[in-house]
Symmetry: C2
Subunit: 148 residues, 2 copies
Amino acid sequence: MRYFEDFQVGQVHELGTYEVTREELLAFARQYDPQPFHLDEEAGRRSIYGSIIASGWQTAAICHRLLVRAVLEDSASMGSPGLDELRWLRPVRPGDTLSARIEVLEVTPSRSKPDRGVLRFRVEVDNQDGELAMSMVGASFIGCRPAS
Amino acid sequence: MRYFEDFQVGQVHELGTYEVTREELLAFARQYDPQPFHLDEEAGRRSIYGSIIASGWQTAAICHRLLVRAVLEDSASMGSPGLDELRWLRPVRPGDTLSARIEVLEVTPSRSKPDRGVLRFRVEVDNQDGELAMSMVGASFIGCRPAS
């Protein structure tokens, strides 16, 4: 189990990879982002993207899943206050394989709650060609190591 | 159909409401945010939130669905460059009904692509008690009205 004290500025965590199947792309778009260039092949072809593409919110959610599996589920994670500077830099297409990493930017003990701190980290998501598809600055509340 | 020219700074669009069912909350968490306080009733009760809560990414995705239905699907939407200052301010619990609105902050013609502009807008998501659950500054590429 990792606690707040175990995170240090400059640490890099590789988060692994995730294949974005056409089926999952369409299911997410139907539910949360029903725009034609996410759902309809012909509309995708005629769009500025040249094919259907994943909702940017799905790319972000997939990245979060990778973060949970690689880091948060083995940490004293207590949720998140939010994020900054999310950028969707390249389209994600059906069949793309995403890989993600974080670099720890700041570790700040909470002023009001001594049992936790805030971790801020840069997130990068690449496609299978090593091109940056998404970046952001994320944050997590992480519990401090209990006194023993 | 709304084009870039139809958006003006200060416009407010009410986006409607969305009930977050327990079933949908759990389905999203299983797929994209499998942390115990999103999935397990007992872990939720023991967490700082006092119950299971929705993934913040699901709150954002629901807000985006409301934006698509109320504004983007009747506009010349061409995707989004990203967003800033997303804040998860209050937990969203099973059965909560969210409502959302946007206020247009900036309308900026693209310098490099004369066929579109960038809309920037503040987004607010309230729960059924009128408490602010999430806010952010979003952006969309919107196509210009075709010359006739």
